[in-house]
């Protein structure tokens, strides 16, 4: 029987990892992730998991150890945030390029400078081109569910790629919510026995990882990596439908909320989507057709499906909790690319919100919807990109 509990996002993440019982974990503390790995280390110390816990001196080393352990043939996890993810940057590309199915919760936090420990998406957005699959989670339940599904996606024999599961720092990682836990046996059966691919510890069949590949072949290896990413969407949906059978919870490539007939659409990732949904309900009550699209799979990005979902929208506001300085926000760029081929493209605006843990309030969502309404009425976009929630 599933258990209903009141837990933080970090606690739910650690519980999912305990239930999966991976072979190796190498991690380094960083706020707001620390608490997740601390809880997991507790499971290791108490003998509740069989995991080999490797304590390292930095996140660069944590990811390096994960790469070694995954190449060795183990099911491997770590978790990080912010500067920690930034310090792993070099190794992220190696984990993906070596096709190692490491699973890593990323508790999203702002990047220095100025130093800030609170939630925004700058960390994971900075790693979006590293070749990792990225799943994003609105709340603790989704983080828990995504972590469990991440193993099946990463380890699928047609994929073999590392997966980041993103959840908002503090807002989700440290707030207590209602979460439904699956039974240990159900989770274990769902993720299944780990099947290594070309493990180094198969010493009867010696092999080499990480060779030098010069211009005669590098291009082809990257083409092969691009090909694999093309298969991810299908596997994500397949895993989601199997997960629905054990949990009753349905996941897709993104969530559509009152989107079908919506004229005014907000596209928003993670926890702020909850606030936006509330405001959308109020607009619907007033007869205004507002809706929301919340991406779940951000890498690879499901362009065709997103375009289809936005086909009937009149105006779309893409809200980014990360900035690309001197450019549009990272999510906005994807949505404009996705809608590029529609015969009738919606008006598109980009709002940067919530940096460094600044609250995303209902009035911010309202302000965005009012602007969309005005754009539809006047047929004119005044400013494409602007910050919201800035103190005057």
């Amino acid at each position: 029987m599933a258990r209903v509990v009141a837990v933080t996002g970090n606690e739910a993440g650690a519980e999912a990892l305990r239930q999966v019982n991976p072979d190796v974990c190498a991690a380094y503390p960083i706020t707001p992730q620390t608490d997740m790995m601390q809880r997991f280390a507790g499971f290791v110390s108490n003998g509740q998991v069989d995991t080999e816990m490797i304590l390292v001196e930095s996140e660069h080393s944590a990811m390096s150890a994960c790469i070694g352990a995954a190449a060795g043939g183990g099911r491997v996890i770590t978790a990080t945030s912010s500067q920690g993810l930034a310090l792993m940057w070099e190794m992220l590309f190696i984990a993906a390029g070596d096709r190692l199915p490491i699973v890593m919760p990323v508790v999203n936090r702002a990047l220095s400078a100025p130093l800030n420990i609170h939630g925004d998406h700058s960390d994971a957005m900075g790693a979006r081109d590293s070749g990792w699959i990225q799943l994003w989670s609105e709340n603790a339940q989704e983080a828990y569910d995504n972590i469990i599904q991440a193993f099946r996606i990463a380890e699928h024999m047609d994929i073999r790629l590392p997966v980041m599961v993103c959840l908002d720092g503090f807002i989700i990682s440290h707030s207590i919510e209602r979460v439904e836990y699956l039974d240990d046996e159900v989770v274990r059966e769902f993720v299944g026995e780990y099947r290594p691919m070309n493990p180094l510890l198969d010493v009867d069949n010696p092999k080499s990882y990480g060779p030098l590949i010069l211009p005669d072949l590098y291009h082809e290896y990257k083409r092969a990596q691009h090909e694999v990413m093309g298969r991810v969407k299908g596997v994500v949906l397949e895993v989601a439908s199997e997960f629905e059978k054990i949990s009753g919870r349905r996941y897709g490539l993104f969530e559509s909320y009152r989107l079908e007939d919506a004229d005014l659409v907000m596209v928003i990732l993670n926890s702020a989507a909850g606030t936006a949904k509330d405001v959308i309900d109020h607009y619907r009550d007033r007869g205004i057709k507002a809706g929301l699209l919340k991406p779940r799979l951000f890498r690879p990005f499901p362009y065709e499906e997103v375009a289809e979902a936005l086909r009937n929208a009149k105006a779309v506001a893409v809200l980014d909790r990360a900035d690309s300085f001197g450019a549009y926000g990272p999510l906005f760029v994807e949505i404009t690319s996705a809608t590029l081929h529609l015969d009738k493209r919606p008006f598109l605006i980009n709002k940067i919100y919530g940096l460094g843990g600044r609250d995303f309030l209902p009035e911010h969502a309202g302000q965005v919807l009012e602007e969309l309404k005005e754009i539809v009425e006047t047929g004119r976009v005044k400013t494409i990109k602007e910050y919201i929630g800035v103190r005057e």
Partner: protein, 97 residues
């Protein structure tokens, strides 16, 4: 049409064939070559031990010369060689001279 070549690449560029470095003759990278002076050699095999490749040929416990197919000319053997009475048994000579 047959499957493109890149679709047959091993995932993650893993090399499954053990010891295939032998096919890659790295000796062409060399700018200086080690030259063995047999008369100064005491067969201590420091050169064999220190060589980062496997380019020192040893037979029956004795130094026998170099395998130039793989020697990159790093000069470590020459540096480590104690030689006899202050005279090195390995000298680095510039290639093409």
């Amino acid at each position: 049409m047959s499957e493109p070549f890149w679709k047959r690449l091993t995932p993650g560029s893993v090399i499954l064939e053990a010891g295939n470095a032998v096919e890659f003759k790295t000796g062409s990278w060399r700018a200086f070559r080690p030259v063995w002076k047999e008369e100064n050699c005491i067969h201590c095999l420091f050169c064999w031990m220190f060589c980062p490749d496997m380019s020192v040929i040893v037979e029956d416990g004795k130094m026998k010369g170099f395998n130039y197919d793989y020697c990159k000319g790093c000069g470590i053997c020459a540096l480590e060689c104690p030689g006899k009475k202050g005279k090195k048994a390995i000298e680095m000579q510039e290639e093409g001279k």
